[in-house]
Symmetry: C2
Subunit: 749 residues, 2 copies
């Protein structure tokens, strides 16, 4: 692969920008840690949260490490199944085929660990920063709104910069080392990142909602004490949950989206490079992402708290976002005109930004208190919880339809932009849409982290008995966070489908490449025949694929229900301890944290194993084409269910808020009680099951692409195949054992 | 097409059996009508129900007639777009091409009207019989349980026999007239039947649940008066709803399933006849269905009420069912051995019966009080309505997964049975599974009608103040009905997917035939290329298709919510009329009936237009292959959503019953209130949105097959095309106008 001097320099510049992003994150970290932590009582509460969050992360790490180790071995040996590709041999000329095999195997395994580590780092570090910021925001809010806001935003920006920096760094370095042999290692990198994100999303989602729902049911509903009341034994678990779910889970998830769009973008770029012989197709997405990081640094730096309160805060954040967006678009246009010498790639990236905006607007329309749907849900509270729930279900379903149509429109625009070109161009267009959609991830994550940080600060304030004025400031901050949060969630789910469609394209390309190596004539390769849903066996694959997200959601919802009821029993038990309700005896917070931690780990492995093994099993039994149908089914069902659950949940949440603001009977009315039911139903839908489908869709797609060689040549038994199959079986046994070992049994007194 | 003497006789025998089934229905009708109608007060209540039901049906007929007329014209002119097929020309040798065109056009239009009329007849007649039986069951239950049971079962059998008789009659007559040119007319026949069924299912579903939910919310929940209390102005509407929804809607729906499996079975049989030159492939399904009707007559005749009460009733019904099933299987085996001289077709039919049993067992497991899922839902009522709803959602999702896997397994078994044969054989196998699955429709419908008839009898008893003993007998009857009802619902939805997969196969065959006529070389025809989900435009089609059932469900649920809240307002208004609550003034029942009637019609046309027009629009804009993807998306999403909604609803319903039977706190406890919320949420899911997806999936598939010729040669503008497009536009305008005209505004006093 021959790059020009400009292109070589450009690659190093992109690398430099990625490192600058990371340096900026460290700079911000120092500035946040310098702030004051407040009163001893605040620090005491905060220590409990920090400890709980730390314990959860350690426990989770222990649970998943064996599986990671197993998969690393499996990935290394997977190259033994297929001889290295022609590109790999060309990339490392003087080496013997066996050497190349080992290099590619090591590359894949190392990239997998790298992806997993980065994802873990973003999640863990992001969460730890959020915890560090919580108490400082609470402390700052006693004196100044703008200072509190600045701390919260900066802490969020750290996570954002880590996401950007690590994602771009990994993709660029892998490409620079492996060049045209990069897909292998890139897939490993993407797989590591998504798998960890799946763990953190699912685990965090179960933890946070079990604690939240459990604490509310037994505290607010049964005992009639306020939220965050120190007598509730689950209150610390609830605060820890905000961190492990909304911070760690979210951050890992967004990192994974950012990373997988790069991975699928680069893989499809490489197939265009192979067709056209022009390296520009692959330099372009890296430059676009580099520009994105650069403009995020500038945009986020511009956000300063103003004296004026929440309105100005929202304005400042928006100013930062639009500054970044303007810099991006101008730079992309320059790139298209002076480097690419054509506008199609630019158009695709612009469509991506447009898609982000469109999904954002749709999400707002269906979940914001200002618009008809939420008002209608709130109004239906007048006839009770049942009509409110029905109304929310209908709104969620409708929102899924429109979001899907927008995404279908995006794919269509790629078809139109590359009209008359081979399918590889259309897939490239889809991948560039994904690149464009997540360009401003730095800003998005910074905005998103707002909510949980302010929420936690508020909780610390309540438990430490802070003054009313400080708590009002934090509530205002929380409200701003709620608005910005919805944006990120919609974009994450939308990007999942775009990334999945790109990976679906990669699967097609990859299977055909393996078939070519095996001597399958061109007319019978998958790129020529396509994935024919009209073949009964492919249709069966599609049906099974479509069922997986439903199974996954069902298990996730059940996991939350089960864990929440354990929390209810535990808090009830502690309420009976003499002196506790009078505030004389402190409850045992660690017990509730422990229950949530164990419950979250218990379900984790099973769900991960479903995601990893079903595509392999379908592929081996029904063959490669049916696995293609399977992927299409997963994408379709996954997208519809994810948006349905996220938006129904969001709409119920805001319908409750609308009523609490004094509409339709207001706080304490029968309608309000109905709205609380709706909100509770929505909680695990929008914060556990819905968001978990995002990494799940991609794990399944990545596993399929990775195992394509295995599947295509299944009939030839090789040592590599045997090792892979044994590893898979070990994973199942391990998963079953794990879920038995970690039985959730609350301590009895 | 050359039939042997045996085959010619066999066809006439099948025709004779169909007519015998109809004669048996008339015989049963006479025997039911002979029974006593009871006290004057009972007759008064009954007259009100009869009148309300009659008004609803008249109103509905008026709403849909214009659309039927339009579509008849469109179907007639649709043949102008494509010259008659080679088979049609061969079928009518001495005639000129123009003459053949007119015959095929007339055939298609006439068959459409025939299908619509039969569907309407089954729905209307079945409902009127149920209304006739209600009051007689109530009267008989004053003296004897077994007599009451016999009347209810016989009334149900009438509908069952009509379903069987008319479905088989239509299919056989069309085949006898058109022979190998039959597909055209068969498609029209199927389309008429499904479209009417869609109207009756959706309209009936909205009516019944609006009345039910509205009456419960304002009566049971707000005013604290019992169900079926005469002071509740919506109580007659509720009873009418049981008839128009559970009787008319259900009957039309099952008729349509029975009919469409014949239609798709015959079309796919004809393609096998063309390949093999053997007529036996098409005679077989007709004989199988003939045997089914014959054995249903015997089986249902064997069901006699016994003195022993409900247990014996269930036994008697089961005895009838298993008698029919044994006769069938023995006769099928004889047919396979002595006529077909091979076992594969028999195996497919047997798989169909197995599928019915498997879905039945799954439905029972997920919705019956005996098993874990419903117990878990009931138990989660201890922590309130929110956890109960979550638990039900998870159960519904899981049940959808397993049901889908069973269906995928059924398709797989066709692949295995016809291993190594061309795809036409596999599709034939799938179609025969559908034929087998609905063989015993006569028994199923007889069992299913039990529930609503007993329910209504009970309501009449309550309103006419019948003695406790009589009401207990009817409650027992109702309980038996609830068990048998679940069976039919599961089978209807399962058969929808099987029929849809067959129609999907017909689409493939049909498009290829049109392509052949247009001179497309064989390698480029759809039967060779397949429907490639890997083409971006086909993927877009699939995404859009997958969204349609969600849109449909959202609209249906909203329609119920809106109409129910109008009912609430109306009943509240009437409660304020002086003297009404004291029982001195009678409420105005007709007003509530009117509100439900108007509301049901209002939404009807919009939903029907979505089902009819979206495939045409997708086909014309994205082309034939994308429409194939669209169909796959509709089938996948439709099946998952339908089962999810039906079973979640059924499970909540039974969780409530479990609590009412004294478990988990029993009647009146906080848990019971939570269960009532769950039941109300489930009502429109299980009785409106879920079942409506069944005919919807098939209408979309039939429209696609019917419009395939139009879509394939869209670029050539012909007079026929212009007429079809104008008719489609008129339909949209009409639909919009309709929904504006019938604004639902309750009268104010």
């Amino acid at each position: 692969m021959q790059t020009t001097v400009f292109e070589t320099i450009a690659l190093w510049v992109v690398l430099g920008i990625a490192l600058t992003g990371l340096a900026y994150a460290l700079f911000l970290r120092r500035s946040v840690l310098r702030e004051d932590k407040g009163t001893p009582r605040m620090i005491e509460v905060w220590e409990a949260i920090k400890q709980g969050a730390g314990e959860y992360l350690t426990r989770q790490l222990k649970t998943i490490l064996p599986l990671i180790a197993l998969l690393t071995v499996a990935l290394f040996f997977s190259v033994a199944v297929v001889p290295p590709s022609a590109e790999a041999v060309e990339r490392f000329p003087g080496l013997s085929p066996d050497r190349v095999k080992i290099i590619i195997g090591l590359g894949r395994a190392a990239a997998f660990i790298l992806g997993a580590m980065f994802s873990l780092l973003v999640g863990q570090f992001g969460m730890r920063m959020a915890v560090q910021a919580n108490v400082r925001v609470a402390a700052a809010s006693r004196f100044s709104y703008d200072k509190a806001m600045r701390i919260a935003y900066r802490a969020g920006t750290i996570t954002g910069m880590l996401t950007d920096g690590l994602g771009l760094l990994g993709g660029t370095v892998i490409f620079m080392i492996f060049q045209k042999a990069a897909p292998d290692a890139l897939l490993g990198f993407g797989f590591g990142g998504t798998l960890l994100a799946l763990f953190m999303r699912v685990g965090g989602g179960i933890f946070t909602k079990a604690a939240d729902v459990g604490a509310d049911l037994v505290g607010k509903v049964e005992a009639g004490i306020p939220e965050d009341d120190p007598r509730n034994a689950a209150v610390i678990a609830d605060l820890v949950g905000d961190n492990v779910g909304d911070c760690a889970g979210m951050a890992a998830d967004i990192f994974e989206s950012y990373e997988v769009t790069i991975v699928s973008g680069l893989i499809l770029s490489l197939s265009l490079v192979a067709i056209t012989g022009q390296v520009k197709w692959i330099i372009f997405p890296l430059l676009v992402r580099g520009i994105g990081v650069f403009s995020s640094i500038i945009g986020t730096y511009l956000v300063k708290g103003k004296k004026g309160g929440p309105n100005d805060a929202m304005k400042a954040i928006n100013k930062g976002f639009y500054s970044s967006a303007s810099i991006c678009l101008a730079a992309f246009a320059l790139l298209a005109g002076f480097y690419m010498h054509e506008w199609r790639a630019f158009l695709s990236v612009a469509v991506g930004i447009g898609l982000a905006v469109a999904i954002d607007e749709l999400t707002k329309y269906f979940t914001h208190t200002k618009y008809k749907p939420v008002k209608q849900i709130a109004r239906s509270s007048r006839t009770g919880a049942a009509t409110l729930i029905l109304s929310g279900l209908a709104v969620g379903m409708e929102s899924a339809v429109w979001t899907l149509l927008v995404i279908a429109g995006t794919v269509l625009s790629s078809v139109l932009i590359y009209w008359g070109q081979p399918i590889a161009f259309v897939l490239y267009g889809v991948a560039m849409t994904g690149i464009g959609m997540l360009t401003l991830t730095g800003n998005n994550v910074a905005m998103d982290s707002f909510g949980p940080i302010a929420d936690n600060a508020n909780g610390i304030g309540e438990m430490a008995g802070l003054e009313e004025e400080a708590r009002e400031r934090m509530a205002d901050l929380d409200a701003v966070g709620n608005t910005t949060k919805a944006i990120t969630k919609g974009v994450a789910i939308g990007s999942a489908v775009i990334a999945a469609v790109s990976l679906f394209g990669s699967y097609l390309t990859d299977v055909s490449k393996v078939q070519a190596q095996l001597g399958v004539p061109e007319g019978a390769r998958m790129l020529t025949t396509g994935i024919r849903i009209s073949e009964p066996i492919v249709l069966i694959g599609m049906l099974i694929g479509g069922a997986i997200p439903w199974l996954f959601s069902s298990l996730a919802i059940n996991a939350v229900s089960r864990a929440a009821s354990l929390i209810v029993l535990e808090v009830r038990r502690q309420f009976k301890i003499p002196g506790l309700m009078e505030g004389k005896v402190k409850p045992d917070y660690r017990q509730a944290v422990g229950i949530c931690t164990v419950a979250a780990q218990k379900e984790l492995t099973g769900l991960a194993v479903i995601s990893v093994l079903t595509p392999i099993i379908v592929g081996l039994t029904l063959r490669a084409e049916a696995l293609g149908g399977f992927l299409a089914g997963v994408i379709l069902s996954g997208q519809l269910l994810a948006v349905f659950m996220a938006n129904a949940g969001g709409a119920w949440d805001n319908a409750k808020k609308l009523i609490e603001d004094g509409n339709y009977g207001g706080r304490g009315s029968a309608g309000h009680k109905a709205a609380v039911v709706g909100d509770t139903v929505g909680d695990p839908l929008k914060d556990t099951a819905g968001p978990a489908l995002n990494p799940m869709i991609k794990v399944i797609n990545l596993v399929s692409v990775l195992s394509a060689p295995l599947i295509v040549q299944f009939k030839r038994i090789t040592p590599g195949l045997v090792i892979v199959v044994i590893a898979a079986l070990l994973a199942v046994v391990f998963a079953v054992g794990q879920s038995k070992r970690t039985r959730v049994t609350p301590r009895r007194t």
